[in-house]
Symmetry: C2
Subunit: 331 residues, 2 copies
């Protein structure tokens, strides 16, 4: 039995708690959230389950005062600089760490100093740490790398994740700018708050796996504009307003494009699809029609990674370093 | 730089040699084959490459007399009982082992005593050993398990590998009975020589990953009968003769089917396709239209697994235990 402490009890964190409660072989022993309204609440009750007898605490040391845990799941912040402090504390308590923070999925290029510090900290305390989720963490990086396992040679990788956001959680719809006027969209984009984070991380993870040295990485971001009034999302969207976002990241060796990641998430998108196209020897195209629901998948992969992170050795890892974190829902 | 010794220089082994010669970061240092006609031949020349200055030897100890190797690739025999002796010798020389032997991919259920002995031997010599290939080893076991990583729950897994065998190597076309009369097909089937090996291994690997306890596994085998004269294979096939083989393996928990693997390889098959359908939360269907060419892929994954096996720890491993063995074709 592996003991888990959950840090962060927003919608994602609460869903992770529900998922863990359904599994055998793992169990929650403590939970932490800084929200004063949640302090002392029963973890199970807070997450819509039966009482677990686990009070929500506002700090990790207190939460684990008389308990042993193996793994901490951090569904707390998106900012890796803040996350670093949380990782340090968890590592110092001997906990392996799984986080849904996008920037942690492959921080070696975007945040090399932070990555090195986290790696050193984890090695000192002999724990492993990984960032995961549906994307980054699986669909646009890990899975393409897995598929290259049967290739002798790779020339180009193209990954597309096209999603109808109508059925995604409200914060996700807000994050992609659904419903904003184009002026509001541009303002939020300038603030840096409207953006799917992770394409650059995914590109660097793929390049690392292939042992490619990239010369240049670009990323574009545009609104997907509603061509008619849309009602399928969490609020109606007027014609001419943003229905979502389209981002394209490209990586080059010399002048040659070698990786292209295409992310498009919008309310009313006619067809959800996840596709991976490898040009090489052999070439192949893998398609998941309908796509993979990200809200379920991000929580599931964080839970499925629990046994894998416990046997991953010490240091800051990427998903590529882990044994297959497959679903384990049997006895 | 990782040093590799190749054991077995049939078509598969020679292709592995060619693939290794195209990569950076790995190199061949020795080669072994029992065929007297190949003794002393230059490995490169034998494989249609430039001379490598490596003479083919008929035993491993001699081949490595004054050389250091990290990994042995065994493309030698299909019979795990004979393979065990080769593994023992390679392990005793401190070599990690990658084999294309189908039965080694997951021997824990079909050959538990041999599996335990191999595991013990590898632990004694502190080396790792894995069986891999396109199938078993990737398409019908590893990849489905990878896809479950984003599932909270799995009810059923259905994998289909449907192949037009016209473009596969001649021994493969012979193995699936292409061109035999139905009487010859039945006779070869009774001998046990006409059969794609690996479906049972794949089923047990999937069940292990999901922590499922199976109650029953069945496997059927039927000829695919040519409905007209076929000319696309290595020899013409008369109408009414076998064009290939169809095998279906099913796993049950109680009376409920939980895994179905459908393998069909025949000359003239109209559409090659690899598909994985997971029923669960979430459900998904992943399709590779055109399928993956097994001759390239089996050699590529054996080569790609070289770095991964070196960091896998000690013992008999499965593909599930390895870090992602992605293609590494960069500098």
């Amino acid at each position: 039995m592996l003991n888990v402490v959950q840090l962060g009890l927003g919608p994602l964190g609460q869903n992770i708690v529900r998922f863990i409660s359904e599994r055998r072989g793992i169990q929650l022993v403590a939970a932490v959230d800084p929200d004063p309204a949640k302090q002392g609440a029963d973890l199970g009750t807070l997450c819509g389950l039966k009482s677990m007898g686990i009070p929500v605490s506002n700090n990790l040391a207190t939460a684990l005062q008389d308990k042993h845990a193996d793994v901490a799941i951090l569904a707390t912040v998106s900012d890796i600089e803040i996350l670093e402090l949380q990782i340090e504390e968890a590592a110092s308590l001997g906990l392996h760490i799984i986080s849904t923070c996008e920037e942690l999925s492959y921080p070696w290029e975007s945040f090399p100093r932070i990555a090195k510090r986290i790696d050193r900290t984890c090695r000192i305390y002999e724990v492993a740490c990984v960032g995961t989720g549906i994307n980054p963490g699986f669909l646009m990086d890990y899975l393409p790398c897995v598929l290259t396992s049967v290739c002798q040679q790779v020339e180009h990788i193209r990954v597309s994740r096209i999603q109808d956001a109508s059925t995604r959680r409200v914060p996700f719809q807000q994050k992609i700018g659904a419903g904003l006027s184009l002026a509001e969209f541009k303002a939020k984009e300038a603030e840096g708050t409207l953006r799917h984070v992770g394409l650059t991380e995914s590109i660097h993870m793929i390049a690392r796996s292939l042992h490619w040295t990239l010369d240049r990485v670009t990323e574009s971001l545009e609104p997907v504009v509603a061509t008619k009034k849309l009602k399928s999302g969490h609020m109606p969207i007027a014609k001419g307003h943003a229905a979502g976002v389209e981002q394209i990241a490209r990586a080059y060796v010399g002048k040659k494009e070698v990786i292209r990641l295409h992310f498009r998430a919008a309310v009313g998108e006619p067809e959800s699809i996840d596709s991976i196209e490898i040009t090489g020897n052999p070439s192949m195209k893998s398609v998941i029609s309908g796509g993979v629901n990200g809200d379920i998948a991000t929580c599931a992969i964080a839970v499925n990674a629990i046994p894998a992170i416990c046997s991953a050795g010490s240091g800051l890892k990427t998903m590529l370093d882990l044994r297959v974190p497959g679903c384990f829902d049997g006895s």
